[in-house]
Amino acid sequence: MELFTPEFGLVFWMFLVFAILFVILAKYAWPVILKSVDARADLIDKGVTYAQEAKSQLEHATENAQALIAEAQQKQLEILREAAQAKTQIIEEARKAATVEAKKIMDAAAVSIEQARKESEMQFRQQVSEFALQVAGRLMRKELSDDKKQIELADKLLTDIENKN
């Protein structure tokens, strides 16, 4: 039957045309199209991953920021506490130093007072012994000629009196 017998002419043309079509499309169409579609799909995938990453990063960023703020507040508190401590310490130290200094001054004052007192005592003694010698000299000018020995004697006598007192 004619329907089932392939016609030579058509087979010939079909083979030729199909081969040409295949060569043309395989060279100029399919590789470009498939490559572009693949490249675009890759780009879209990359874009989606990028967006997701960015989103998660953003979420992380707010979390991080909050953590940072909390940490900063903690630090601030610590610093304030430390400052307070330092203040009291400084005041304490200053007070101590002041006491020490005051004590030193007082001591020095005491020493100088003591010295002054001793000096004045010495002077007083000298004057007293002079007065006594003058008094004694006037009383017995002739017997008591050596002044120096007499002053020493008077001083000794005065020390005795002082010790008695």
Binding site: E2, L3, F4, T5, P6, E7, F8, G9, L10, V11, F12, W13, M14, F15, V17, F18, I20, L21, F22, I24, L25, A26, Y28, A29, W30, P31, V32, I33, L34, S36, V37, A39, R40, L43
Partner: protein
């Protein structure tokens, strides 16, 4: 809106009812020959019929070479109505009915080598041109717009290409997908285009190309060549020296014969499937339309009834054929892909090595 649709349907019905009557009045003298008409449409022709005129056809070039080796090229209108040109003519009866023949020195009729541009060849050219016009500018567009997404027609085409490549070729062929994709895509779109063009009835389309065994033969042969020329060592070893008991392959090559037979039946099945499906679709539509003319002689009431029924059924069949057009192209591609993947087997050791 509804009114206009109703009006259109009414007009269509009027046209449907009146057309056969016009036809019947016109051709009262010769009775309607359903078989002739149907096969006239299914088979190849040297001219291309135009609507509303069965006598006038678009002439196409005839290229023939007789036994003496002389080539002739002439227009088909010279031998159209039983006329003879340079000894070539188309007999209306006999063994070579409808084919161009000539006489040798003894006066015996024989068929020369005939590579005429017939209706089917012309349709083939048109389909090929359409494919090139569709996909080459598309490729250029992609080159101009890197990472761009085409819209409308090309977007639709891209969807189909993507479907064929990602859902069919890639999962089956894996690493070989890139290598075979051009052939498989070309085959798919070629078949799809000629199927759809075959369903449109007026001039630039309407040739029963995929329902012609020569076309499907070449397509199946191409798949056969691709499968067997690019088959791996193991494919050939499995064919001629499979791992079966010695008695099955040594004195009488039982398994090799079976395997060889299998290798040939695969493309034959491809050829027959596509041919029969498309031819069957065309045949059913033609028969349904012919019913109108067969019943046309039985009076107006019967004619009207058959017309409505036939048109409804053939419309349904045509819609079904649109579906079949796609499915058959898809089936041809999927089977070709599977046959290729079967020929691309690697031995166990090699597979392990590849991993």
């Amino acid at each position: 809106m509804k009114k206009t649709i109703l009006l259109r349907i009414a007009l269509l019905l009027v046209a449907m009812l009146s057309a056969p009557q016009v036809w019947a009045a016109h051709d009262e003298s010769e009775p309607f020959d359903a078989k002739e008409t149907i096969f006239g449409h299914l088979l190849d022709n040297y001219g291309w019929e135009v609507p509303f005129s069965h006598h006038n056809r678009i002439p196409l070039p005839i290229i023939v070479c007789d036994n003496n080796g002389d080539w002739s090229l002439f227009s088909s209108h010279r031998v159209m109505h039983g006329e003879e040109y340079n000894g070539y003519f188309i007999p209306a009866e006999g063994e070579f009915k409808g084919k161009i023949v000539t006489r040798d020195a003894q006066g015996n009729i024989y068929r020369p080598i005939d590579i005429s541009i017939t209706k089917n060849v012309m349709a083939l050219f048109i389909a090929t041109a359409l494919l090139c016009l569709c996909f080459i500018p598309m490729a250029r567009w992609y080159r101009k717009h890197p990472n761009g997404a085409p819209r409308k027609w090309w977007g639709f085409m891209e969807m189909i290409i993507d479907m064929i490549y990602k859902d069919l070729i890639k999962p089956i062929l894996r690493d070989d997908a890139k290598r075979y994709a051009p052939y498989l895509l070309t085959a798919f779109f070629f078949i799809f285009f000629i199927n759809i063009l075959g369903l449109m009835v007026i001039f630039p389309a309407g040739a029963n190309l995929s329902g012609n065994i020569a076309v499907t033969l070449v397509l199946a042969l191409c798949t056969f060549l691709v499968v067997n020329l690019t088959g791996t060592k193991h494919y050939w070893k499995d064919m001629f020296w499979p791992e079966v008991p010695m008695w099955m392959k040594c004195p009488i090559p039982l398994m090799p014969v079976i395997e060889l037979f299998g290798a040939i039946t695969k493309p034959v099945a491809l050829m027959i499937r596509l041919f029969a499906n498309m031819m069957g679709g065309h045949l059913i539509v033609l028969v349904l339309i012919s019913l109108i003319f067969i019943f046309g002689t039985m009076g107006t009431a019967v004619l009207a009834g058959t017309t409505v029924l036939s048109v409804a059924f053939s419309l349904f069949m045509n819609l079904l054929d649109v579906l079949i057009s796609f499915i058959q192209a898809y089936v041809f591609t999927i089977l070709s892909t599977i046959f290729i993947s079967l020929a691309r087997i690697h031995g166990e050791g090699e597979k392990e090595h590849a991993k």
